[in-house]
Amino acid sequence: VTGRASRLAIVLLVLAVVASVCSLLIGSRWLAPASLWSALTDGSDPSAGIAQARLDRTLLAAAVGAALALAGALLQGVTRNPLADPGILGINAGASFAMVVAMAGFGISDLGAYVAVAFLGAGLALILVHAVAAAGRDGATPTTLAICGAAVTAVLASATSAVLLLDRQTMESFRFWQVGTVSGRDLSVLTIGAPFLAVGIVLGLLCIRLLDAAALGDDLARGLGRRVGRDRAVVAVAVVLLAGTATALAGPIAFVGLLVPHAVRALAGPGHRTVLPLCLLGGAVLTLLADTVGRVLLPPAEIQVGVMVALIGGPAFVMLVRRGRTVAL
């Protein structure tokens, strides 16, 4: 671990703590730091409800952000494509389509069931993209994966809007799910998703060596004794677990998976031993900040985290790219 990477790790850790504290304190009503503790521990405190709701969404935002950023780093690493992002490879579109079908066709309205359905959709979409890409002459190269992902996304998005146009009631619930939000979910949802996220994170962090080998190209990776096909499958499972669960919990939040790995690589170098853990921290920080800022920007209303991430992350990403700081894979 280089000096730069460890410095970045310390900075991100501090930022993560600051962001979570801010997320607990700031909102439509300010909670004084002194009263926060009593509100969290003492159920009879008048602010207990607010504190609990904020704690729930803070945990959820951190978990979702970390998962999405890690998923993005894994995908970019294994496809060697700087454009790879759970959104581009059809995962979000798959989850959205599955949600719409579940809402319209089976009348599912339970959050726990949403998680399972979105998860299934994400997995099927990724398998489909991979299968279509692998059917080509050169197999599942990074470029075919990205193009097939875009094509599958387009098909699924059309199918989604077709269902929505036919079914007004589904549209009404879907349009609030599709922005991506961490508010109004209680802790029980996170406990359903937590095991999936945990397995995904562990599996993802186990991929470090495999991704470093993959970065050298398929032939060299084979020469180093890797079984390329199996490695890709392992990464794909981790990505589906992470991105699928995150999408199920909070709706499709674009951009975390793209921005955070790029930023981390630009600041700490391309080795996955540093990139993957730092992405976990960076993703959590970005989502927490976006969620907190979204709460105070338009006082009575609230801007959803999915929107805020793009509004904050977009310009940051543009700056990063323009400085030429993106590290090629």
């Binding site: 700087p82 454009l83 387009a154 098909v155 077709a162 674009a254 793009a310 977009g314 990403f317 543009v318």
Partner: protein
């Protein structure tokens, strides 16, 4: 991408046969696609809720009046078929120009943010300004142009991954805007927005077709310039803007459409029959 391995032939024979193969494949592709296009076009104007027999359709187009059928064919079926063709051609061209000029097979108006720029401007018009009709079309074109110019300016002449990455960044912001507006809107307008975003050829008027044609007029000619022009500088800039305009306009009468431009491969330089001076086949052929 055919692998030519003439082991014994003298070089000139090999080159000749390789060129012939490319020319033959081009001819097959053009003929096949034309046949399919005509067939689909005829199906579109004769089939549907209201059936019109093929002889009747021909008679109506040549000027005969058949009560009922005339109106449906001329005011509903034909405009939709013509506009569908036009939109497909425009988007296919736009994608091909993008991919050749930017030398990036991932480049397409929707990945680089042009589509979303048009969409977000139109949704803004519907939701915030409460507009409809041609104002929305104008807004969509303005949005597409705005995003195209912004991405272009931000990329500073770097056309490879940097432009695509910037486009993706801008797209993310644009789609966030759309999503946010979509949650703010009442139910009636939500349907309207969704319909627009879904892309539809229904309720087309001949006027819309005229605007599409005007926007696209200079397309193919510029395209040759782009293919043959030098690697950098002004020659590349103009065609890219053209293509964006095409993509922006065909968005406006009917909303964005997802895939056609990626399904249609970029025409290889030798494919255009009107350009005998097109570059020689690359040595790989």
């Amino acid at each position: 991408m055919s692998t030519v391995t003439p082991t014994l032939d003298p070089p000139i024979v090999a080159v000749r046969s390789a060129r012939r193969r490319v020319a033959r494949r081009t001819a097959y592709a053009i003929t096949g696609l034309t046949v399919v296009w005509i067939a689909v076009f005829l199906v579109r104007i004769t089939q549907g809720d209201y059936l019109i027999s093929l002889p009747d359709a021909v008679r109506i187009i040549r000027g005969a009046e058949i009560p009922g059928a005339s109106y449906i064919l001329m005011e509903s079926k034909l405009p939709r078929a013509v506009l569908g063709t036009g939109v497909g051609v425009a988007l296919g061209l736009a994608g091909a120009i993008f991919q050749t000029t930017l030398r990036n097979e991932l480049a397409s108006p929707d990945i680089v943010g042009v589509t979303l720029g048009a969409s977000s401007a139109a949704v803004f018009g519907i939701v915030v300004l409460g507009q409809s009709g041609s104002v929305i079309s104008a807004l969509a074109v303005a949005g597409a142009l705005g995003v195209a110019l912004t991405v272009r300016a931000l990329a500073d002449g770097h056309n490879g991954y940097r432009l695509v990455l910037l486009g993706i960044g801008i797209s993310a912001v644009m789609s966030a805007v759309i999503q946010y507006l979509f949650t703010r809107v009442d139910e009636f307008n939500a349907t309207k927005v969704l319909q627009w975003l879904g892309g539809s050829l229904s309720n087309v008027e001949w006027r819309a077709i005229g605007s599409l044609l005007r926007a696209r007029r200079a397309g193919p000619g510029r395209h040759r310039l782009a293919v043959e022009g030098p690697a950098g500088g002004r020659t590349r800039r103009r065609p890219a803007c053209r293509s964006r305009r095409g993509a922006g306009v065909c968005r406006c009468p009917d909303g964005p459409r997802g895939h056609p431009r990626r399904d249609s491969p970029p025409p290889s330089p030798g494919r255009s029959p009107s350009s005998p001076s097109s570059p020689a086949p690359s040595p790989g052929r």
